[in-house]
Symmetry: C2
Subunit: 318 residues, 2 copies
C-alpha cells in the first residue's frame, strides 16, 4: 500500500516541526496552543500514515531520527510557503496593493505615465503595477479575457460588460507644417479643417477613429486608402507633418511646450467647441476588485497634468 500523503494535515506538520524544535511533547504542545494528548496523537498519526519513525521517544529524551530531520526540513518549507500565502492574502485586501495589470493606449501612455507613476508608487508602495501599452482594440480583448485588470482608454469603449470611471477630457490640437496658413491665427475652429489633408494613425488606434470622425464631419481629406500615409506612431506622424505631407490632430498631452521648435511644425488650439477625447479607466464588470479601480481613477484625476480637464463627476457608468 503506497503512502497517502493526502492524509497529512498542515496542523500535523506544525506539530512535527514544533516537536523537532522543542524536543519535548508538553512544550511543543503548548507552543502550538494544543494539549499534549492532541500533539501526541497527531505525531503518531503522522508517523503511521507515513510509516516511518520521526522521533525516538524515551521517558527522558525525545530525539529526531535522521530521516525525521529531513522530513522536518521539508515540513518547514511547507509551512513557510503557507505563511507566504497568508502574507499575500493579508497584503491583498489592503486597497491598491498586490499585482495590478494596467493597460494604457499608446497615444496617451508615454505622456501621462511620467505624471502618474511616481506619485502612485509613493502613495501605494505595495502596488505591483504591471503596465502594458496596447491599442484600444487589443486592450478590450485583454480586458475581457482577464489578461488585464484595468485599462486607460478613450470613450466609447468598443466592448460590452465593462465598467468605467471618467478620468479627464483631453483636447486635440491642430498641428500643421511650419508656415501653414492656419498658423496666422492664434486659434482655429473645427471648420477650418475643411479641405485640409489630415494624416492619420494606423488601424486599431482610437485616435485614428476620433480624428477620422471629425474630418468626415467638416470635410477634410484623409487619404484613407493610401496606407503609405498611415503612421504607426505619433512620432512618425510628427515627422510626416514636419515634412509637409499634411496636417494632423494631436492630443494635448502629446504636444510639448517646444513642439513648434522641435518638430518644425505649427501648433494651434481649437476654439470651443473644442474637439477632444474623453479618457476613462475601464475594467470588467465582474472584476473582483472594482473598488481598487475606483480608487485608482480618483487618483489619476487628481494627478493628471493641468493641460487636461479632470472630470469632476466620479460616477461609474456602463
Amino acid at each position: 500500500m503506497p503512502i497517502d500523503i493526502t492524509a497529512v494535515t498542515l496542523a500535523e506538520l506544525r506539530y512535527v516541526v514544533a516537536l523537532s524544535d522543542q524536543r519535548h511533547f508538553g512544550r511543543a504542545a503548548k507552543s502550538c496552543r494544543v494539549t499534549q494528548p492532541t500533539l501526541s496523537a497527531a505525531i503518531k498519526k503522522f508517523e503511521t500514515t507515513l510509516r516511518v519513525t520521526l522521533f525516538e521517544r524515551s521517558s527522558k529524551h525525545v530525539a529526531v531520527t535522521p530521516l525525521g530531520a529531513q522530513i522536518v526540513e521539508e515540513a518547514r518549507r511547507v509551512l513557510d510557503a503557507t505563511d507566504r500565502i497568508g502574507d499575500l492574502a493579508a497584503r491583498g485586501h489592503r486597497p491598491l496593493s498586490g499585482p495590478l495589470r494596467l493597460g494604457v493606449i499608446p497615444t496617451l501612455g508615454p505622456y501621462l505615465l511620467p505624471w502618474l507613476v511616481p506619485p502612485l508608487r509613493e502613495a501605494y508602495p505595495d502596488l505591483q503595477l504591471v503596465l502594458r501599452e496596447v491599442k484600444t482594440s487589443v486592450m478590450v480583448e485583454e480586458l475581457a479575457h482577464s489578461q488585464l485588470d484595468a485599462g486607460i482608454l478613450a470613450l466609447p469603449i468598443p466592448a460590452r460588460g465593462m465598467s468605467s470611471s471618467p478620468l479627464f477630457e483631453e483636447p486635440f490640437l491642430f498641428v500643421g507644417p511650419s508656415g501653414h496658413a492656419l498658423g496666422k491665427k492664434t486659434s482655429v475652429k473645427e471648420g477650418d479643417l475643411e479641405g485640409e489633408r489630415v494624416l492619420l494613425l494606423d488601424e486599431g488606434h482610437c485616435l485614428r477613429d476620433q480624428a477620422l470622425s471629425i474630418c468626415n464631419k467638416v470635410g477634410a481629406t484623409t487619404d484613407d486608402r493610401e496606407s503609405d500615409f498611415r503612421a504607426t506612431s505619433m512620432e512618425t506622424l510628427r515627422h510626416m507633418v514636419g515634412a509637409g505631407m499634411g496636417s494632423t490632430l494631436l492630443p494635448a498631452l502629446a504636444v510639448s511646450d517646444d513642439e513648434e521648435a522641435r518638430s518644425h511644425v505649427t501648433v494651434r488650439p481649437f476654439v470651443a467647441p473644442q474637439p477632444g477625447r474623453r479618457m476613462v479607466l475601464a475594467w470588467r464588470k465582474t472584476h473582483p476588485r472594482a473598488e481598487d479601480h475606483a480608487l485608482l481613477a480618483e487618483f489619476i484625476r487628481k494627478h493628471a497634468p493641468d493641460v487636461v480637464k479632470s472630470t469632476r463627476n466620479h460616477a461609474t457608468k456602463k
Copy 2:
C-alpha cells in the same frame, strides 16, 4: 480580524492549483477525484478564510486573478514540498535507505572502510552514509545521544542500553623493531611478551585498553605514566616501533602485506590462543531502525577482508 492560515487545508490548496490549471470546476474536480460541489465549496471556503478572490467566475469562463496567480504559485510550492515528504517517507522504509550516521573507531576505519563502502554503495545506492571516525569513548556518547545511528567498535561496549551484532574477530599481531629477537620465530605466543616494553595508544582508544590488559596478564612493561610514549595514532606507533623505542600490538587489518619493508619493523602472528578483539556493530536499543542495522551487520560480515574471521553467529545480544 487577522487571517487564520491555520484553517486552510492541503486539500484546498490542491483544489486551488487544479482549478488554476484546468480553469473549469468540473474538470478540476475530476482531476482531484472529488465531486464538483466539493471543489466549489472548498474554493469558496479558501477564498472566505483568506478574504480574497482567487478566481473570477462567469458562466463560461473561470479566470485567475493576479493575486490568485501569486497564491497559486505558493500553493504549488507547498504541494511540492509535501510530495517530497512523501518521497522521503517512501524511500525511508525501504531497507538501508536514507541517512545513516555510522561511527567507526579510528584503529579500524581506515583499514575496513575501503573494503566496505564501495560494495555498500553499490548494493544500497539510496543509503546516505555519513561516516564519522571517533574513539570508542566518544562513540558511545554519541550513540546514546542520538548523534550517531550505529557504530563499529570492539567489545566490550562501555555503555548500557545498546544492542549489537557481532561482525568478526580481528587478531592482534606482534610488531617489534627490525632485528628483534622474536623475529627469529615464525610465530609468537602471548607469554613471549613478558619483559617486553610495549608501546600503547593514547587514552580513549579501545586498542590501548586491550593491549594493556594483555600486557598486564603476561607481565610486559607499558610505560603507562610517561605520556611521551603514548602515540596518538597507529601511524605514530609504527614510527616509534621502527625507531626502536619498543614493540607493540597491531590489529591485523592495520598491517599491510609489505609492512616489514615499509616500516622497518618485524611482524609476527600469535599462535593460539590468539589475542585479538571482537568487533561488533552497536546501536541504541531504542533505535527505530534496528532491522537496518542487522542488515548492515550481515553485509559487513560478508564483505570483511579474509584476514579477519567473520562471526557466523548472527544473534543480537546485549
